[in-house]
Amino acid sequence: MASLKELKGRINSVKSTQKITKAKQMVAAAKLRKAQAAAEAARPYAARLATVMGSIASKITVSESSPKLLAGTGNDQIHLLVVANSDKGLAGAFNSNIVKAALVAARRLRAEGKTVLFYLVGRKGRAVIRREYPKDILAMFDTTEVREPGYTEAEKIAAELVTLYEAGKFDVAHLFYSKFRSALVQEPTEQQIIPVPAPKVAETAAGSAAVEYEPDEEEILAALLPRYLKTQLFGALLENMASEQGASMTAMDNATRNAGDLIGKLTIQYNRSRQAAITTELIEIIAGAEAL
């Protein structure tokens, strides 16, 4: 049985842990609102770009001469898995879910006889992937210096990916991130980003008939593809950020509640032992008095 002093110490330490988790929970809630707003603000651009992509892609038949980003390298031997994680922990299973999804895909591709490489964004998840595939990490992108990954980061990542792609380092790229459903539900998602999957064509019957292009369709498409890639990466980063905050909020809420339960239990134990000590003392005094 722990002594009174020990129990008191434990109660205090759990209390201070609870304070931290509570603070983190509130911070996450505030950041979640911001991240959600950012994700919402990015939607118009993505939607319009997809429409433009769709209408151009529908006019061009994919052939040998099409930009590589759309047509592919003609191979699908080397697969690059782009895994987007966060830099900070304290977000429950957020990062490990993404990594798990990536590892499952890696195993599946390996079983099909493909070569699998990794491109890691964010600090978390590096250790796990490095342990399983120590030699297959092609590159890492560090986001620790920026507070919130934004469009500049998406641009850099996209540029790096395109360079690697053009250097023939990989044939197909998949992106792994966590889609934000709600504060409670985040879905690890896999998405092919290179070659760019042609978006579904939303045909606007009247308008698309006589669109004039300047310069011609192919050149516009060539300029559009890297931009489309950037937008998709940017969208994924935003979704990831919202998911991270959501996951963090839920995890910290649970932690706060658990700490509360633990404090309750420890307090009962503390009071019991205090009462037991008093009773023992009383018995000793009474016994002593009777003996006289």
């Binding site: 990015a42 469009y151 998406a154």
Partner: protein, 84 residues
């Protein structure tokens, strides 16, 4: 008689108004868009977008970097990577 003009960046919707005319710095030369312009699409070079609120008024200048301009039934949409 107004042209619906939207300026969108990846981070947000910067402008969405009805204006008289917009002059866009296209890669193959500047072009002005008025209401009723034929469907048109062009890449945009880094430069100044000039927005005329009304006929003959002083233009409002917006610096844009890289992107697209699309003229459709719903007016002019400029997708720019950066806006100052």
């Amino acid at each position: 008689m107004a042209l619906h003009f939207e300026l969108v960046t990846p981070a947000r919707l910067v402008r969405s108004d009805d204006v008289y005319m917009v002059v866009v710095p296209g890669t193959e030369g500047e072009f002005g868009v008025l209401e009723g312009h034929a469907p048109f699409m062009s890449t945009v070079r880094d430069g100044t977008l000039r927005v005329y609120k009304a006929e003959g008024s002083q233009p409002e200048e917006i610096q844009v970097q890289g992107g697209f301009a699309e003229v459709g039934e719903n007016g002019l949409t400029v997708l720019a990577e950066h806006v100052d």
